[in-house]
Amino acid sequence: MGWLSEQEWAAVALSLKVAFWAVALSLPLGIWVAHLLARRDFPGKQIVNGLVHLPLILPPVVTGYLLLLSFGTKGPIGALLEPLGIVFAFRWTGAALAAAIMAFPLMVRAIRLSIEAVDPKLEQAAATLGASRGWVFLTVTLPLTLPGIIAGAILAFAKAMGEFGATITFVSNIPGQTQTLPSAIYAFLQVPGGEASAMRLVIVSIVIAFAALIASEALARRASRRVGGA
């Protein structure tokens, strides 16, 4: 405990919370969008595809700025959601939103690739056995996509842990509320001699990310072992 200050521990805890919820809540949407892009043809598909990739293309500051414009208390969406008690501006929820949006293209791509790899013949077989589209998706497509979903989730988690530019622009940096690990690291790097302190936090980030990676690899391995045989 002595190694990190109380405020730094708070940043660690917050980063974990933000990354977790960013991934957990965007995952269903990510799966849905990935499925849409992988298996359906509809007008405007390329637009959806482009929008999903947008956060990757734009400098994070721009994304953060656009988030502020739309989800801020004065923004159209922010104003719409506020009466419902959903507030993003200057809250950790906003950090989670920013992280989720920045991580979304990575998540969607991974899941989409996995969905595309599922043999449509198996889905057809399920349909002949009486499963409707929805059930086919739930009982066949989804389980077979598991390795991709795990990969997508871990990519998104890693990205969420590292996201900085959009987050600080959107929800700024309020210690204990929106100060994530990357914000803290950034702050240290701004002042002469801050490198050592920054490195401590970098190491914490790395340890967390490695742990998450190893866990995800084990999960994915189990999922594909189940599919592979034995």
Partner: protein, 361 residues
């Protein structure tokens, strides 16, 4: 339940143009590799939408290209046994088998899991995943999965191709029971004349995407001009009735007013049977032969003799049990003086009436 199929589709390099009406029972699609059998089955299942056509099952319109009707696959409730297994790799064998039950209506006539598992000999596999099953094991699970989905109709695409004769002999009676007792109609693809003879109510012969012959199993198999899968398939199918089970393990049948002997069959006295007599298993004689190990000798009159391209000839003998076909050499036909109108005896080996060639009507 009747199935009416009429479809036209052009693939690059192959065009399909198939129409047939199938009465209740088992309709066998028969034809060489690449003749369009699987395509027809896929169209019935709803997995392939032909450019033109209409498919009606009983009174339900399943597909109509003109009015753009197409009942979704999962509502058709057709138990499809695929040519290539298609087991769900992420589910255990047990879960694969149970998959269709989930979606079947509660009131449907469900087959019994235990019974099917025993029939298919897949008991020891239940908790395994399909990945490392042997070819035949996969096929058996696929059969079980379709049977257990309480289908309105079964679509079977060469379901027994990967299985050994002994296993086939175990599964065929079950399919017969489905057909006769549970009255489940089937569309059945096979290359095996034995399976055709045993199961088929109707045979539809495909060649190059077209129906070249359609009719009752007896009729089609007796036609030497229709030999899509080789001359060995030709044979007569006789209707018979179980007369008595003898103590030495033989069952006596009556066909016309003639007696035929078979290794014991399970049917009880009085029940009707169909027996197939492959033309090449019949020997002809001009006089009633004597002192032969063959128990079944039918008297008849030669209806006609058709000489083939090779050294053989196909002789049709009208007996009181029905027409019997015999393949003999032209040399023998001449030596014996087999010409239209003469009397002759057909000698059929009892044991040549093998179990796989016997079925209910």
């Amino acid at each position: 339940m009747t199935l009416s199929v009429d479809l036209t589709h052009r693939f690059a390099g192959f065009s399909l143009n198939v129409a047939f009406d199938a009465p209740p029972g088992v309709t066998v699609l028969f034809g060489r590799s690449g003749s369009g059998k699987t395509s027809v089955v896929n169209a019935v299942a709803g997995l392939f939408a032909p450019e033109q056509g209409r498919i009606v099952l009983d009174k339900t319109l399943l597909f109509d290209a003109t009015s753009r009707v197409s009942v979704p696959v999962h509502r058709r409730r057709l138990g499809y046994i695929f040519q290539e297994g298609r087991l769900f790799p992420h589910l255990t064998v047990r879960q694969n088998l149970a998959y269709g039950r989930w979606f079947a209506p509660k009131e449907a006539n469900h087959a019994d899991l235990g019974q099917i598992v025993d029939l298919l000999g897949i008991g020891p596999l239940l908790d395994r995943r399909p990945g490392a099953l042997s070819g035949g094991e996969k096929q058996r699970v696929a059969i079980g999965r379709a049977l257990l989905s309480a289908p309105r109709m079964i679509l079977a695409d060469e379901p027994l191709a990967a299985l050994d004769d002994a296993r086939k002999a175990e599964i065929l009676p079950y399919l017969e029971r489905l057909r006769d007792v549970m009255q489940v109609p089937m569309l059945y693809v096979t290359h095996s004349a034995a399976e055709v003879a045993r199961l088929a109510t109707t045979v539809v012969v495909l060649e190059g995407g077209r129906v070249i012959r359609q009719g009752g199993a007896a009729e089609v198999l007796a036609d030497p001009l229709v030999t899509p899968t080789g001359i060995r398939a030709v044979g007569a199918v006789l209707e018979a009735r179980v007369k008595v089970h003898h103590a030495d393990g033989l069952t006596e049948l009556e066909a016309g007013n003639q007696s035929l002997f078979l290794p014991r069959v399970p049917q009880s006295p009085g029940s009707a049977l169909r027996i197939r007599i492959p033309a090449q298993d019949v020997i002809l004689a001009r006089h009633r032969p004597d002192g032969l190990s063959a128990l079944n000798i039918l008297r008849g009159t030669v209806r006609h003799v058709r000489a083939g391209e090779g050294p053989g000839a196909l002789v049709t003998l009208d007996t009181s049990a029905g027409p019997v076909l015999a393949r003999v050499t032209r040399r023998s036909a001449q030596a014996l003086g087999l010409v239209e109108g003469v009397e002759a005896w057909a000698i059929i080996k009892t044991v040549a009436l093998a179990p796989t060639d016997i079925g209910g009507p």
